[in-house]
Amino acid sequence: MDRTAAQRGFERYKAEAFRLIQLGLPACLHGDAHGRRQQLATAILKLVHLARFFDQGRNSGAQGPDIERLLVLAKMLATYNKSTKSQKNGISENFGDFRSDGKHVAMARNLYACSEFFESPPESIIAALLAEDIVRAGTELRVLASTEGRNPEQPVLQMAQVRLLRLRALCPFAAGRQSVFLPALLDNILAVPGSDSVPRERAGLLVRGWFCLEGLSDQDDTILPGQVPFDAGSLDGCCRQQQLWQARQILLQEVHRLICKLVSLLSVKDEQEAATVFALMARLRALLAQTEQTQALIGVASCECALHERFLPDGGHRRVSRQVVLQLVRVALLLELEEGARWSTLADPAPCRDRLLAALQCRDWESELAHWWASARQDRTLARLVHQEAARYQRRMRRVLRPGRRQALSCINHDLVWLFYRLTLLCTSLDLAISARTVRIVYQVVVQHWVWQAPLSAGFAGNLETFSCMLADILVGRKHSAAAASAALLGLEIDVFAVFLDGMAAAGRRQKHLVSGLDSGAEPPLSIGELPSFLARHINVLAQPEPAWFLSRAALQMPMPGICRELRILEASAAALKVYRLEALSSALLEIYSEIQLLPQQAHFPAALLMEAHRAIAAMLDQAAAWQDVAAHQRTLNALQLWLQDRLTERSRREPLPMEHSQPLAFARLLPALRAYLRQLGTAMGRPGHLDFRYQPEAVLPSALVEPLTRATRELLRYVLVESGESLHARRVAGKTAALHLLLEFEDRDDEMVLSLVSDEWSTAPDEHRMQQGLMKRMGARLSFAIAPGQGTRYELSFRKVSAD
């Protein structure tokens, strides 16, 4: 064994030893302090033992420890009990000495379990563990957030809570600042009521927990490596905020209970005893005194004055109308909103508050409509048209939201968006200011549901139906009971509150989704809510496709960079906005353009197909811009896929992947075949991938490296596409495109040739990575990985030139 190999072996076993400590840690976390120390000591002893073991191997003069052999042994031993007799005999023959030694067997098992190399000190390993857990917790809580208020499933909640518990357990081991505030913060989040509380409350609090963690990750680069630098000032603010939270949490729970009591009073048909309402109002006032919410304070004071004026002389024995109770509920809702938004480190709650305040004023809309209808008798033409149109909307609304369909309606569709657009338009154009404001709030809620493709709860669908049909009834001149109107309006206000809070949260959560996906370095990070405006401003070329572009390949050269740039933006944005049909067509077109760049001059240029595809993209963009559901252009998509398939089949026949070569080979010669291979594989596995390249045009492979490099690259592509990385579901949850994006870079260094493959996935498959490294070694390549959480994975294949020509 030469010196370099020995050194390399030593480095690797050191790294594995660190890994052992890391593996030992999670088990240590749940014990008491004494037990934890003991287990850590055991892990360190294992490290020492391992070191001696390797040293013995080296000092004995025999061939040094072959880690690959050890790993194979470890794998066999790990499954030893399940092996056949002949396999067991094989193990005995090859590794008899190991098998007979129980300690070595245990060690080998540990080695097998160790799969990822960490060349950093243990503190960083713990930080990496923390980062990983935060990211995982984030993914799960993001799913949870999308179901908040819509009966999240108990297992999801439990899993989220377990994640937070794990984070909490890791905190004492974390170096640096997290240990100061993160434990206290997590304690607060975990102090959420247990299984006896309703899922919605728990979900809400857990999601708030995630906001908090995300806020921290923005401020502390040790939590999520690669984030913005740590700012001590923000941290101070955060600590103060979390101290406040303990008091606010109790307050919010009380407010919520109060709201429930008040709402229960509303459900009683008769008017209420003034004394009961006085008591609840006093409680609300006491809660308000703990806050600085002047709007809510004014609201409750106004209710109180009105009640005192009317009822105090009777000693509170007279009955109170529902309107006063309703007003109190609204004030309490406002308080909850203000306090919740204030704590949750979200953006300015003012827009949300304004909407709610607007809703508070909406109770007069019925009288406004009645007044309009009375005055409309003077304009019989308009009255007749309003009647006809309102009746049309009423019929359509009932068709869309009728109970049978409502259950099947998983989210808002374009029909509903259109209906509320028209109802808003109708009320606005008739100068029904209060009604228009009310309908606009509902319209905005509907649009936000539609933009985020948020699930539509049965309760919300019911409220929409009641509200819209009631409005349409009143517009066509029918009477409606005030109680039903108030109840529906109250339900809607609650939904408005919930949805806008969700919306703000969603915008905050998704803030960083598209930084890399948009491929526009100059652009700041975008939230989902900002994407439509961004697209309207930045999609220029695709909006107006010109037939002249597709006359020839030469004519296409000029606009092609712009087209491809916009297609990449569109693909990423459509994926984030869940407009999957547009994403699929953009993705296919991108691939076509990659192929066109590699087309031989004499090859057929698919002008008509490109024009057809661009027209389809433009039509889809028009639909998306008008906030309509995007139609499928399946025939065009199929034609694109077929063209690509034909091209690849033809190329595979004409230009097979070079495996043996007697002459140096231009690196560019490999690319078409690699892309064809990826596509073939992607089609077979139902997992599409884009492969882009970056290399010096003059890059040449020595003949001796052509075969190993080709084989290893193919294997790496197969591994990344098939075995590693995220599932389609995980990509969707993260707002990524369905197609895996890969960038292959080639670099000719002094003593080696390096081929890097950058994937947009954060791969966490240490066992597989380890096996893959062994496989690559047998192919003559050294494989290393670098993971940037939230960004992607970089695989680096190095080939030494020593053995090359």
């Binding site: 308009l382 028209r422 338009l425 811009a625 008008a626 906030w627």
Partner: protein
């Protein structure tokens, strides 16, 4: 008759069409109403119309696509009617070559200003 004083109104809401027509008539325009692109085409050819108002979200169809058709087939640059809630319409309409975007319902003065601006471009 001066074709510049004729205006095509492409809107499938009878109430909106009625209210807009009253405003346009008050401003001295002759309003020709259509509910589909096909109806609009025959009206434009028959009456030599150079001004058009077009709803962004008809019941069956798409205002942007209808606008494209008017531009391609009739070289007519329509004014897009949109509402205050729809912030992206103006930017997209400008990209497609619409003459202007009008937030409606609005005041008679706003309508007059937009029409005057578009007429000046003709």
């Amino acid at each position: 008759m001066n074709s510049q004083k004729k205006i095509l109104l492409l809107h499938d809401s009878p109430v909106q069409a009625c209210l807009l027509e009253r405003q346009l008539q008050a401003l001295g325009f002759i309003c020709l109403r259509a509910e589909t692109v096909a109806q609009a085409e025959s009206l434009v050819i028959a009456h030599d119309i150079r001004l058009a108002l077009l709803d962004v979200l008809p019941a069956r169809g798409n205002g942007f696509q209808w606008g494209r058709q008017l531009l391609e087939k009739l070289r007519l640059r329509p004014i897009l009617l949109t509402t205050a809630d729809r912030h992206t319409d103006a930017a997209w309409a400008a990209k497609l070559g619409f003459a202007q975007t009008l937030v409606w319902p609005g005041t008679k003065e706003q309508l007059q200003a937009v029409l005057a601006e578009v007429l000046a471009q003709l």
